[in-house]
């Protein structure tokens, strides 16, 4: 039997009716209609479903939607204002870090969380942060470059 809940997604409180056993991914895609986060493996292996929960990355395919109530959920749609791109998203385009695109929303979410934690990550730190995100096009080199370039760009911008 469906239950009523309120999910706070990208700064907006959205009332939903969901089954108690639904994953956060299913609630966000099917009940809210935000389809940026993808269902890849549905098994916490591939990271295509990655969202931020209170700013930290979570595999939304394996997290129960009702446990996300009263917490701040961020999906790829919330990384920039509508019609705009974050510096990280622009960097992905500049570096050719998007091939088929299926992993991209998850990559962007994991990298966004990393760059909030660490202003100047090493390549090793970037690779560890993205270890839970699989790219079946195997375009990891460009993805890592795009994240490192974003960090470098922010560092340059912050010089007075």
């Amino acid at each position: 039997m469906k239950v009523e809940a309120i999910l706070r997604i990208n700064g907006v409180a959205v009332p939903v009716e969901i089954e108690p056993h639904w994953s956060l991914l299913r609630a966000v895609r099917d009940a809210v209609g935000l389809t940026g986060a993808k269902e890849g493996c549905d098994d916490s292996e591939c990271g295509a479903c990655m969202m931020l929960l209170d700013g930290e990355p979570v595999n939304s395919c394996s997290y129960l939607a009702l446990q996300a109530q009263d917490r701040e959920i961020t999906t790829v749609e919330g990384l920039a204002a509508p019609g705009e791109l974050s510096d990280l998203q622009s960097s992905f385009l500049e570096h050719g870090a998007v091939q088929c695109g299926f992993c991209t929303p998850g990559m962007l979410i994991s990298a966004t969380a990393l760059l909030r934690r660490t202003q100047d990550p090493s390549e090793e730190e970037v690779r560890i942060a993205l270890a839970g995100n699989l790219c079946r096009c195997t375009g990891y080199g460009a993805i890592v470059d795009a994240v490192l370039a974003t960090a470098a760009g922010r560092a340059a911008d912050s010089v007075p």
């Binding site: 595999n59 997290y63 009702l66 446990q67 109530q69 839970g132």
Partner: protein, 300 residues
């Protein structure tokens, strides 16, 4: 019966739900994934315990660290006291799954799911940790060895909730390490793992605790391996005999990740790496946390 999920605001509420047949869910990284993989369907009746602040604390005293059941792998591995004094536990927590898994998954969940390949069991067993199990009827304390009963099985009753894990701080001169054999560096499950906790006094090993992971139906200590080290100076020959004794005590299975004979052969290698790194740390030498990554490319 239709599915339900209640969110507990107090431990008492959670215990009442458990007594009525609900199963607890914290991070869901084992429970929900297990249901998706078809290992076990998601229990119809769930009680979410993730908001119980009293189970999320790390309490430190001069003699022990008490880790709440909801402490995530990430918080555990980032704790200064855990890294300094219970280093093997930091090694273990730092290599569970991915950052998302480590942020969401909890120490309590790792223990109560009782996988023979769980990372935290070996270190907690070797440090002599105990758990507090609580039901509506009262609380009891159990050693890790008394808790883990076999693959996916514990001795906890279904109405008992794991509240906290108490880990006594080892004496000065102690070094520890958890190392695992892995095919890749992240998002891995131990193929074979070993924990070593050694105490040195005047260059002599006065205490040694060695446990195996993914090498037996439940995490267990290897007494013969410990005996091979105690009284030695940690020389290569003593380390070799201890690692061989660890492998001899193993009862590995063959599965999709490795054959039993390969696991047994690798137990010698992983056991040696864990013991060497624990001895190095006991001598005050620096070995990075987590040790596994460095050991695969570094210590031979």
């Amino acid at each position: 019966m239709s599915a339900s999920l209640a969110t507990a605001s107090t431990v008492e509420q959670a215990l009442a739900q458990l007594a009525a047949g609900a199963r607890p869910v914290a991070g869901g990284t084992d429970l929900v994934v297990g249901a998706r993989q078809g290992k076990a369907p998601l229990p119809e009746r769930l009680v979410a315990i993730h908001r119980l602040a009293e189970l999320s604390e790390i309490r430190e005293s001069s003699t022990e660290v008490a880790l709440g059941a909801l402490v995530s792998h990430r918080r555990c591995s980032e704790s200064g006291t855990v890294r300094d004094r219970l280093t093997a536990l930091a090694d273990a927590c730092a290599i569970v799954g991915s950052i998302a898994t480590r942020t969401t998954g909890t120490l309590g969940g790792n223990l109560m799911n009782a996988s023979p390949a769980m990372e935290t069991g070996g270190p907690l067993l070797c440090f002599g940790a105990s758990v507090t199990l609580r039901s509506a009827a009262g609380s009891r304390s159990l050693g890790i060895d008394e808790l883990l009963a076999g693959p996916g099985r514990t001795t906890a009753a279904s109405d008992e909730l794991l509240e906290a894990v108490s880990v006594p701080l080892p004496p000065a001169g102690t070094g520890s390490c958890y190392a695992r054999l892995e095919y890749r560096r992240q998002m891995e499950i131990a193929i074979a793992g070993a924990t070593a906790v050694v105490t040195l006094a005047n260059g002599e090993v006065t205490d040694a605790r060695i446990a195996m992971t993914a090498l037996s139906p439940a995490i267990g200590r290897a007494g013969e391996a410990e005996a091979a080290l105690i009284g030695s100076g940690g020389e290569p020959d003593a380390i070799r005999r201890a690692a061989q004794a660890l492998a001899a005590a193993a009862s590995p299975i063959s599965d999709v990740r490795a054959s039993a004979s390969y696991r047994r052969a690798m137990a010698v290698v992983i056991g040696r790496r864990a013991i060497e790194a624990a001895l190095a740390r006991a001598r005050g030498e620096w070995v990075p946390v987590p040790a596994s990554t460095a050991l695969h490319g570094g210590v031979r």
